[in-house]
């Protein structure tokens, strides 16, 4: 049995450019929406991946964010609310030759699709998941989401929410995802390089992108994401480097037992006292401490929290089949039908 696409007339191999990944569909997000930037960086990244356009598939659920596949000139599937990971799992497991992307929102991934997110992450299906976190339900016009801050007043919580929010990175680390990162819609260089890292990781890559919904939750991240304050209020994670932040790079994060604390360099505190970032720690515990650092108590960590290797679900599935074939021989259908006790009449 074969899987894979039929052979098509040979197409000449010309290097692709961003425009080759722009579909003919009119983009319909609100003007000023953070989704535009994420789309642009995704389209820009595609030619650099060196993967033929026909081998790339974008799968999404429902939400403003989930409209993205329509705008990509690749194969695409805009499915149903929360279920994109399931379709991606079936596609990747049966067609490992494809590069599969999942585009989802905070409600799509963590509310209605919460179960599927956990399971695709623990299985380590080789796909890239980009979660557009605007901390609101955009498409349904402004109800609170599972990532909305406690007490947030929205159309459906006029007195403020009483639901304690989920932290997407903690969820991903809890499922022991092999690649976990965070980026920001308006930090375009950081965004494209994070997506690039995610695309090259083998296994499930989980990228949370802080995305501004300028209609229903404008400025949700501005307190720390605004360019003017960003160096002081975020911390860029770099593998192998101590955790230093601040415009003057004079502050750092130190671990006191399992508690993180901010220290000022100088007065006897040196870089050697700081936590050194290691994406490859097998135990997700330290990444978990970083994931929980929040403004205003702490600078917000941006970048890759965790990148470890573990066999992928799709590879393991192929392997089991190869092993079964080499152990039992290629299946003989007539012999299987006649398995067990048979008898002949006449």
């Amino acid at each position: 049995m074969t899987s894979g696409a039929p052979r098509a007339p040979e197409t000449p191999h010309v290097p692709l450019a961003r425009k080759d990944f722009v579909s003919d569909q009119e983009v319909r997000w609100c003007p000023g929406c953070g989704d535009y930037s994420i789309l642009a960086q995704t389209q820009k990244l595609m030619p650099d991946l060196g993967i033929p356009r026909e081998k790339i598939v974008f799968i999404s659920g429902i939400g403003c964010s989930s409209r993205l596949p329509y705008y990509m000139n690749t194969y695409g599937f805009h499915s149903i609310h929360g279920r994109a990971p399931t379709i991606a799992t079936g596609l990747k497991a049966s067609r490992p030759d494809l590069q599969v992307w999942v585009v989802t929102g905070d409600g799509d991934a963590l509310s209605i699709g919460g179960n599927h997110i956990l399971h695709i992450l623990r299985r380590n299906v080789d796909v890239v998941i980009v979660l557009f976190n605007n901390r609101i339900y955009g498409l349904t016009k402004g109800q609170y989401s599972p990532t909305s801050e406690l007490g947030k007043r929205t159309k459906s919580s006029p007195l403020g929410t009483i639901d304690y929010p989920l932290n997407p990175l903690s969820v991903a680390l809890g499922a022991e995802a092999t690649f976990v990162a965070r980026s920001l819609d308006i930090d375009v260089h950081h965004l494209i390089s994070t997506l690039d890292r995610a695309a090259h990781h083998k296994g499930t890559s989980f990228v949370e992108v802080y995305q501004n919904c300028n209609v229903y939750n404008d400025g949700a991240f501005m307190e720390f994401a605004d360019k003017a304050v960003r160096p002081d209020r975020t911390i860029q994670l770099e593998h192998g480097k101590p955790l230093i932040f601040g415009k003057d790079r004079d502050q750092g994060i130190r671990l006191n037992g399992t508690t993180a604390e901010i220290v000022h360099l100088g007065n006897g505190v040196t870089e050697a006292d700081l936590l050194v970032h290691d994406e490859t720690r097998p135990d997700p515990a330290v990444a978990g401490i970083l994931a929980r650092l929040q403004w205003p108590q702490f600078p917000v960590p941006m970048g890759v929290l965790r990148a470890v290797q573990r066999p992928t679900y799709d590879d393991l599935m192929e392997e089991q089949i190869q092993q079964a074939v080499s152990r039992q021989g290629k299946g003989d259908l007539a012999a299987l039908l006649a398995e067990g006790d048979t008898w002949t009449v006449g």
Binding site: Y70, A93, N115, L336
Partner: protein, 623 residues
């Protein structure tokens, strides 16, 4: 027991059909004993039909009534279609088994009891105040009292096993006794024991010893004045095996993959009585089958849709509660027009219902259980072995017409078994599929003029990059469209697409009078055997009764309407409160009557016969 001519040679009596029910505690190995008896009888040349009856609890307290497990097998010298209305012989391994099953045995029936278990504790667990072996409860039955437990223990006292292990072999003592009573060979079971316990020679030896001990006990004990022989049945020539519906279903799907040359991808979440299909398909890795035990039923169908998008055979399987969870995704499959098959093995509902009991009450869910105008093709096998053919048929329809198809089986078919005439793979027609490759002519929602199927363009094909999804599609281009006129057109296309499958399926066949008559009994699914048997009996008594059984429920075969109109009366017999009847009345404006029950058990032939008798009177012959 029906004796043809009651011929006596020595003290062997010939019968043409016998139904035995093995009943005991769930730890007593009754399923195994029943299955061995079935396989031996089938290999001997009888026609067989079986029905297991499991408790819902994995291990209800030992000796309790909820813990009783039973297996009924009917074997015969002629073609039979059901596991028998009632047992001729009940093997009761403990008081609870007797309590749970005695009511099903007709007076005059034979009851073989394991007297060792009729002690005070067990009697209390079985809600007997006094011992039914002594208090007249069994008056009118032929009771054979055998101390099975202790005789088994005596046979195995030197076997080198501990008491618990020895006690677990007592089902084989009982089986050996039944083999003697019905003059069956021991060899098939001895061979099976040898293969099954090859790594454990002590246990193998013990099982063989007690099987023979049971047989010899029958021969020497003179408990039975006669023993019985059921001669070979006159089956169509060919090679056979005994098969359950769920096994046949799994093999059918695998064969569909073979006939298309595509990979089978099965996504499923365990649920009784459909789990067997997952477990079977998981064994077929060396055939390239990919099985995915999903986190829930929604993920299972989502993955099947993803696999189908990738050009594979996308399959998912479940029972009623899981089918409910799959509704939204089934709607997606209808909208994106991808071929998937959903196998639904019905059980008693609603909600969790009675998981191990059978039912046909998910027909309307299969037909209509989705939002919007959302037609889905539905097929239903009629017998355990026919599950194979209908599984292939489900994929043939899905792939030819680019539609999702529901394969609607039920617990009775799934767990029941019968002899299966092995098909010759070479003779099965291939299922053709095509994938477009030409970017110049490709349009995602252009349609085949005959079937209205859209092209199945798959990722990896250069130049055919396109986007599909659950939002309404523009005719031809497949772009998102909110245009009302377009929506109206697309809704009608999707309906028409399913309706046109009717041009591509066989007509429904009539057993009886094609030209019409007084009564047509219409059925679908696992009620086939009971309906057919009842109608055959009624016809033998000269009644003008025919029957027809639907394998295609959406769309109906095109000859169904005209057929119904040729009969004075139509009776729809089904294990629900009238779901097919509702459809038939609505579609054909016929005043169909219903025979309905929802006890979790299949129809007895007798129940259908009685209904027929109440509707049709024998014509007074004035000759």
């Amino acid at each position: 027991m029906t004796g043809r001519d009651g011929k006596r040679e020595a003290n062997i009596q010939e019968l043409d059909r016998v139904t035995i029910r093995f009943a005991g505690d769930s730890g007593d190995g009754m399923q195994l004993a029943g299955l061995q008896f079935t396989n031996t009888s089938a290999a001997f040349g009888n026609d067989v039909s079986t029905m297991p009856d499991f408790p819902a609890e994995i291990r209800a307290p030992a000796g309790s009534i909820p813990g009783v497990s039973a297996f009924q097998v009917s074997f015969s010298s002629y073609d039979i279609h059901t596991p028998g209305d009632e047992p001729d012989v009940l093997v009761a391994m403990n008081p609870a088994a007797l309590q749970a099953h005695l009511a099903d045995v007709p007076k005059g029936g034979t009851i073989i009891v394991n007297t060792d278990e009729f002690n005070e504790v067990n009697l209390r667990k079985a809600a007997y105040e006094t011992n039914p072996l002594d208090n007249g409860t069994l008056a009118g039955y032929r009771v054979i009292k055998v101390p099975i437990s202790s005789m088994n223990a005596r046979a195995l006292k030197d076997a080198g096993l501990d008491t618990r292990q020895i006690d677990r072999s007592k089902n084989l003592f009982a089986l050996g006794l039944m083999y003697w009573l019905f003059d069956r060979p021991l060899e098939p079971t001895l061979r099976w024991i040898e293969a099954k316990f090859s790594k454990n020679p002590l246990v193998a030896q013990a099982n063989a010893t007690t099987l023979k001990a049971g047989y010899n006990f029958g021969e020497t004990a003179e408990l039975f004045p006669v023993h019985y022989r059921v001669p070979k049945a006159d089956l169509a020539p060919g090679r056979y095996r005994n098969i359950t519906g769920n096994e046949a279903t799994a093999l059918g799907f695998l064969t569909a993959a073979h006939l298309t040359g595509k990979t089978l991808f099965y996504g499923s979440y365990p649920i009784t009585p459909a789990s067997d299909i997952l477990q079977e398909l998981a064994r077929f890795k060396n055939f390239g089958v990919k099985t995915f035990q999903a986190e829930d039923e929604i993920a299972a169908i989502g993955a099947a849709i993803g696999a189908a998008f990738g050009g594979n055979l996308g399959l998912t399987g479940t029972s009623g509660p899981g089918l409910a969870l799959k509704s939204e995704a089934l709607g997606l499959a209808v909208m994106v027009e991808l071929p998937i098959v959903v196998a639904a093995v019905q059980r008693s509902g609603p909600s969790t219902g009675m998981p191990t009991k059978t039912d046909q009450a998910d027909l309307l869910q299969a037909m209509f259980g989705r939002n919007g105008e959302c037609p889905v093709a539905v097929v239903a096998p009629a017998t355990p072995s026919e599950c194979f053919d209908m599984a292939v048929e489900a994929f043939r329809i899905a792939l030819t017409h680019m539609v999702p198809v529901i394969f609607l089986s039920d617990g009775y078919l799934g767990a029941g078994s019968e002899p299966w005439l092995l098909p010759d793979i070479q003779d099965l027609p291939r299922i053709e599929t095509t994938h477009p490759t030409d970017p110049a002519t490709f349009k995602p929602y252009a349609r085949d003029p005959e079937t209205l199927a859209r092209p199945w363009a798959i990722p990896g094909t250069p130049g055919l990059e396109h986007r599909i999804g659950g939002l309404e599609k523009d005719d031809i281009t497949g772009n998102v469209s909110y245009d009302g006129e377009n929506h109206d057109r697309m809704v009608r296309y999707r309906q028409e697409k399913v309706d046109r499958i009717a041009n591509d399926i066989p007509p429904v066949e009539v057993v009886g009078d094609e030209a019409g008559g007084q009564l047509l009994v219409l059925g679908w699914g696992g009620t086939y055997g009971a309906i057919l048997s009842a109608v055959q009996r009624a016809r033998a008594r000269g009644l003008s009764v025919s029957c027809a059984h639907l394998r295609h429920l959406n769309p109906f075969p095109p000859n169904l309407g005209p057929l119904l109109s040729r009969f004075d009366q139509v009776l729809v017999a089904e294990l629900n409160l009238g779901q097919l009847r509702l459809l038939v009345r609505a579609k054909f404006l016929v005043d169909a009557q219903g025979l309905n029950k929802v006890t979790g058990r299949p129809f007895l032939i007798r129940e259908i016969e009685e209904k027929i008798n109440s509707m049709v009177k024998a014509e007074v012959s004035v000759r």
